[in-house]
């Protein structure tokens, strides 16, 4: 059923995705614009994660590592050598690609849960390395990016340019996902995800397929890491490469629908504003906002494990059918 929905009606989702850039302009103040920026950024990040983990159903719970590589690469180059983050972003991507090749090469062939655990392990090792390499990364003290607005610095005073940047990031990742879905790589990947043995019997080189997707996913996540650093203007190992961030990728993807190009976008559009608003308005009781978020997630997982997206598609399908029906009469 999911596959049937995949082919049609992406147009509606594209409209939503493209139109969403208008939203920041209508938000009343910078606080909401900030949430919009984070929503677009996490949509892009979650879609990047989904590129590998969603389509072949192998969870990486260590993607914060690539977020960290991207953030630290561009930031250290910028702060130490004055290199523009646009270039630093590419450098970060290159480093992430190498890391993903090494990590992927060794762990992709592992079965389900083993692979998941290995991703956690790698992320944790990277975090420890970042903290202990104090001379290069400043360790736990973190790196602070001085405020010098300018396009080449990827720093702006207003949130609107950031909103554009993160929105473009999201769109680019979406484009890559949609293109990949329909390509041979995509079909192979989904096939491997459904049944690895069967796919291999049909001639799919599963290790090559997975590796390519894994590296792409890491690189795209890394780009997001650079944007993240240039937006928050302060990075430290424990908050960037945290398990919470790694989990966030998964939460957004699964809320919207893993393994569909637009699923993580929908997930972020729903969850990012909700979690920020929950934290903002439920701060009076410690821990209440995360508690509620957890409950929402459990509810989604128990009652709608395919995510919200299939629901949305049915809803829109229903609308379209209705209008067609009335036309016919």
């Amino acid at each position: 059923m999911i596959n049937k929905l995949l082919s049609k009606n992406n147009s509606v989702l594209w409209i939503i995705a493209l139109a969403s850039i208008i939203v920041p302009f209508f938000l009343p103040n910078r606080y909401f614009q900030d949430i919009a920026v984070m929503t677009f950024l996490w949509a892009g990040l979650a879609c990047s994660w989904n590129l590998y983990s969603g389509y072949c159903n192998r969870l990486s719970i260590g993607h914060a590592a690539y977020l960290g590589i991207g953030a630290y690469s561009s930031t250290l180059l910028y702060v130490n050598f004055g290199i523009s983050p646009w270039i630093g972003m590419i450098a970060g991507g290159a480093i992430s690609a190498v890391a993903a090749l090494i990590i992927g090469g060794t762990t992709l062939r592992l079965r389900g849960t083993f692979f998941v655990l290995s991703t956690i392990a790698f992320a944790e090792i990277l975090k420890v390395m970042t903290i202990t390499s104090k001379d290069i990364t400043k360790g736990a003290l973190g790196v602070f990016i001085p405020y010098e607005p300018g396009f080449s610095n990827m720093i702006w005073a207003s949130k609107i340019p950031y909103a554009f940047l993160t929105w473009i990031y999201m769109i680019i990742v979406l484009l890559i996902c949609v293109k990949m879905e329909r390509s041979k790589l995509g079909y192979s990947l989904i096939a491997v995800g459904e049944n690895q043995e069967a796919a291999e019997n049909l001639g799919v080189n599963s290790s090559r397929t997975m590796l390519i997707a894994f590296v792409m996913s890491a690189v795209l996540t890394s780009f997001g890491g650079t944007i993240y650093a240039q937006y928050i203007m302060f990075i430290e190992p424990t908050s960037v490469m945290s398990l919470m961030n790694s989990i966030n990728f998964i939460l957004l993807a699964i809320t919207g629908g893993m393994g569909t190009a637009f699923g993580p976008m929908v997930g972020s559009f729903i969850l990012t504003p909700i979690s920020n608003l929950l934290r903002g308005y439920l701060s009076s009781v410690s821990g209440l906002h995360t508690f509620v978020l957890g409950l929402i997630l459990i509810a989604i997982l128990l009652f709608r494990p395919d995510g919200i997206l299939p629901q949305l598609k049915l809803f829109f399908n229903g609308l379209i059918k209705k209008s067609k029906a009335t036309k016919g009469v």
Binding site: G112, F114, L117, A121, I125, T132, G287
Partner: protein
């Protein structure tokens, strides 16, 4: 040389507790096939319960052991009935994320109800040391080790020597076949989960004279338990025991030679090496 032995011994004792946490997980994963990332949170709950028993009623953790186990068993069973039973057939991915969400809920529930304060149980034994030759051993850690290993061995005997245990092993091997032999799957799953949670609760209880209860105390143990279980061979109980001890020792040596900053990273590295070279675990069946 004496130092090395000391480092080794203290690692073994930590490892005993890790082993206990992990056998519960191995049981749950082996028999039910369920990935439980909220495992450590039950350790946290048990520690809080031990604290209340001590603070309000005045029973130290060893005295309240049986009540604590009973309470953890009930909580475990309720978790199984309300949440886990629904996702038995679901993808592992769903289970992983569900249990991650569950751990978020439990951690923050503890924070909401009991605040972030550290709840220490300091009994006379807490700072006691036992000396064997030149070796110094922390008494509560020795006690924890003995009880932890004892419980793990008991579990192993239960699985090998009793009918229910055999039923569990049968379910672990082939659920459908076991069903055809008249074994009630759901009930077996429920029992396995309950026992698994009770064991990690016991681990928490054993830790409470040494370490305080607070909402996040369990989070490290969840990840660690998985690593132990994988190194031990995923479903093997003796494997989990050996794995726990190994991790304790590795952690201790890494801390001593490289520095405490690398303690965790060391066993993560070991984990990856095992995954690459011996994916069935160091002690599992090949």
């Amino acid at each position: 040389m004496e130092q090395i032995l000391q480092v080794f011994i203290s690692g073994i004792f930590s490892g005993g507790v890790y082993a206990l946490v992990s056998v519960g997980l191995a049981l749950i994963f082996g028999i039910i096939g369920l990935v439980n990332f909220a495992h450590g949170e039950y350790l946290m709950l048990a520690m809080y319960f031990a604290y209340w028993m001590y603070n309000i009623i005045g029973l130290d953790p060893y005295q309240s052991l049986l009540i604590n186990l009973a309470v953890m068993a009930i909580i475990g069973y309720l978790t199984y009935k309300i949440i886990m039973e629904r996702v038995l057939e679901a993808d592992h991915s769903i289970q992983i994320i569900l249990t991650l969400a569950l751990s978020m809920v439990l951690q923050n529930l503890a924070l909401m109800l009991w605040k972030a304060d550290y709840r220490n149980i300091r009994i006379d034994m807490t700072t006691d040391t036992t000396h064997i030759g030149f070796l110094t051993l922390s008494t509560p850690r020795v006690v924890a080790f003995v009880i932890a290993i004892g419980a793990s061995v008991l579990l192993y005997m239960f699985l090998q020597k009793t009918y229910t245990g055999a039923a569990m092993r049968a379910v672990a091997q082939n659920g459908k076949a076991a069903q055809l032999m008249g074994i009630n799957l759901k009930r077996t799953y429920g029992l396995a989960f309950t026992i698994g949670i009770s064991l990690v609760g016991l681990a928490g209880l054993l830790l409470s004279p040494i370490y305080p209860a607070f909402p996040l105390v369990g989070s490290n143990f969840s990840t660690l338990a998985f690593i132990v279980v994988v190194i031990g061979g995923l479903t093997s109980i003796p494997g989990a025991i050996m794995g726990g001890l190994l991790i304790g020792v590795v952690e201790s040596f890494a801390g001593y030679f490289a520095g405490p900053a690398y303690q965790q990273a060391a066993y993560f590295l070991l984990f990856i090496l095992v995954l690459i070279f011996k994916p069935n675990g160091l002690f599992g069946r090949s």
